[in-house]
Symmetry: C2
Subunit: 186 residues, 2 copies
């Protein structure tokens, strides 16, 4: 039940429609999960059926109406149960790393391009996450915010996302450079 709890968590701090959630999850919900719109719509249906969230119709004049969802007390309880259970070990799956692993037996050029693209994506995310951080923090400095701020959860996950994307950007960049240099000298 991975998505289930990720959706509950996302709905905790704000009402969302399926469509809005899909956008948030596309970016990566400040990077703790990802999911396709189809998955979200069916998960929302199930969550509402199970009474963990409740939906409310919002009439819009300029565009199609939508249903937005909030977490119910039962939903919060479910999250609490989830939080005390052991977390799944963090496991990683990445196409691009697989390609690097065998780069010695391949034409490196197309993979180098992919590394550079990934570095660019990481930079874009870093900019976005930086904005989110500043918005969450308001006019407090980080030290103070970490001690007394509201919304500490989203702030901490966003900080994690930033650290992660920095590694992605830097590793992709230097790996691309290493491979280009070897290409030159071979």
């Amino acid at each position: 039940m991975g998505l289930r709890h990720a959706v509950l968590a996302a709905l905790c701090d704000e009402e969302y429609s399926g469509y809005q959630l899909a956008k948030a999850f596309d970016v990566g919900v400040a990077n703790f999960w990802s999911a396709s719109p189809q998955q979200l719509y069916s998960e929302l249906t199930r969550l509402e059926r199970d009474g963990l969230i409740s939906g409310r119709e919002v009439v819009q004049l300029d565009r199609p109406n939508k249903r937005v969802f909030t977490v119910t007390p039962a939903g919060l309880e479910e999250l609490a149960k989830f939080a005390v259970a052991d977390s799944k070990p963090l496991s990683f799956r990445d196409d691009l790393l697989v390609k690097i692993q065998v780069i010695g037996r391949l034409d490196p050029e197309p993979v180098i391009v992919q590394l550079e693209e990934r570095a660019a994506e990481a930079s874009a995310k870093l900019e976005l996450f930086g904005q989110i951080l500043r918005r969450l923090r308001g006019d407090l400095d980080e030290r103070t915010f970490l001690r007394r701020g509201e919304q500490i959860g989203p702030y901490l996950t966003c900080l994690g996302g930033i650290r992660f994307q920095e590694v992605v950007r830097d590793w992709s960049t230097t790996t691309a450079e290493v491979l280009r240099q070897r290409r030159g000298t071979l």
Copy 2:
């Protein structure tokens, strides 16, 4: 077809039996993929059926016999095709980050413990990856190895794994500290 290529990549540099592969993938194959033994056995069967790997019986006296696999030319070709195709965008899924996201509405204590456990796991992996790096590098220094060393692929992915685990360790540790401090002051 994620696992398919990960297995091919793993078999590229060394022969493995299903059991040995399972161990490697359990650790995380220097962290580019993860898979259960059952998945690996069935993937090996399929790969052999499709002619991308070939198996060879190894008779052992002290323990049960085993079949070890190597990549065929067709398998290498498959990897080459895979390498030029676009990579799936890097997406992340982590239970523990979901819990942190909503930590403001939960009892933080059990989550803090999980953060500390994760930091410890990351430290253990860092030690392991450090050993692997030194073994791959031999007596060359890193700069020289990156320019001219053999086995550059595994070295680069391992470097990536180290950067990643450092972030996991440091973020988990400081996040646990932040949460403990807030607990004290609230």
